[in-house]
Symmetry: C3
């Protein structure tokens, strides 16, 4: 059995997390939720708690605010169903820690390719608004766009969510 990968892109409040979870729950196996969020304030605590309450008991939660590729390597198994939510927060944590986003991106894509189970990754599309005036937000937007391109090139299937509705950007190949 070989692994498969799905990349779910979408804007803020696009329904991408719910769609990704529903896709994951259609798959048989051991379900792992990989959370990249770090709770710095009350708003974030509330968001994390709301998301955890949405998942049923079949899910094991693992936190990976920065060492995501190593966590994926540790979970690598043919019967694993892994949902990573989301790459944008992971990137944001890396930039705050002054890590090299290009290096992290390469490591993440390697881990996705080597994954022998089913992996679903969620990320924010952030490049379709007015370019922000401040340089830090621009640098974040550039890094997020590059990361999304790299993961989209690696994943077997890519879907864009808008208002809860999926649009296929890269269809899963059907093969022998």
């Amino acid at each position: 059995m070989t692994g498969s990968s799905l990349f779910v892109l979408g804007g803020a409040r696009s329904g991408k997390s719910r769609y990704a979870q529903a896709r994951a729950e259609m798959l048989g196996g051991r379900h792992h939720f990989v959370a990249t969020a770090e709770a710095f304030d009350d708003e974030m605590h509330e968001r994390i708690a709301r998301h955890q309450a949405d998942r049923d008991a079949r899910w094991q939660t693992v936190e990976a605010p920065r060492d995501l590729p190593a966590v994926l390597d540790a979970l690598n198994a043919p019967d694993a169903v892994v949902l990573v939510d989301c790459l944008t927060l992971w990137l944001s944590n890396l930039l705050l820690a002054d890590a090299d986003p290009g290096l992290a991106e390469g490591e993440l894509c390697r881990a996705i390719k080597q994954f022998s189970g089913q992996i679903i990754l969620v990320s924010n599309e952030v490049g379709l608004g007015i370019v922000p005036a401040n340089a830090l937000a621009r640098r974040f937007g550039d890094a997020a766009g590059r990361l999304n391109q790299a993961v989209a090139a690696t994943a077997a299937e890519v879907v864009l969510l808008t208002a809860g509705l999926p649009l296929t950007l890269k269809p899963r190949a059907i093969g022998p």
Copy 2:
């Protein structure tokens, strides 16, 4: 005769209003334009006047800056063709008036489901840029995204406009 509903999503200056109007004018019946805008300043006055000048005499204009579900109930008739432009301004008016967006969203979806004529609703997609730094804009973006998801789930057909070109997110079902 049963009602039908079309939800037209798009960014700023995406051509969504013009597309929605053209779709409405392909339908026979009594045409009602439901305007949700409130003119607070000269820029908004100018936008509203420009939009009104774009519509011909077949259209009756009704204003509904806050009580949109009640206005739709009052217009409910099998021969009605109703164009609501736009939900984002309606939501913005509700938030400024400290109304509960979740309650309003439920009322709106109920009114859409009960509508016996043809209804077309326009809304802005605002979630695909960099997440704004200020909490009020984030709260607005979250509410707008939730509203768009609820209306998209309710409508029979959903279309996304980009640079004046429509992309079908949810195709109208063909049935007996």
Copy 3:
């Protein structure tokens, strides 16, 4: 031989420039890169240099920060393959120079229609985020949206890039 036109829309870091260049390099003819960027600061110098390094020796670079329609007229030839990157910077330069964007847009569309070679134009989609608080950014967003609509209506084929993946908004007609 009649001309053809492709319009490549996408967000920041969506892979639109790379896609447009790859499409251009699939075409035979004399390749002209029309750069609309003006380097005001180090960040912009770096971006321009990075883009030039990505192109091989077949490309002739022409700069057209403001007089784009005239440059296209001068390059007009049946064997020309012209890549314009990008319209958003051109518009930004025009607005900074207090030029009339509506007039410039009309001139650009006329030049595209009269072009007898192959022309590919790149532009940013900027209307899908939260509407900015400041009036200048709103005015820029409005002008960018109108320009994108006009060029999309003129071009024979329109593609939207997201995370490096193309989505066809307007398919090229197949004809006799």
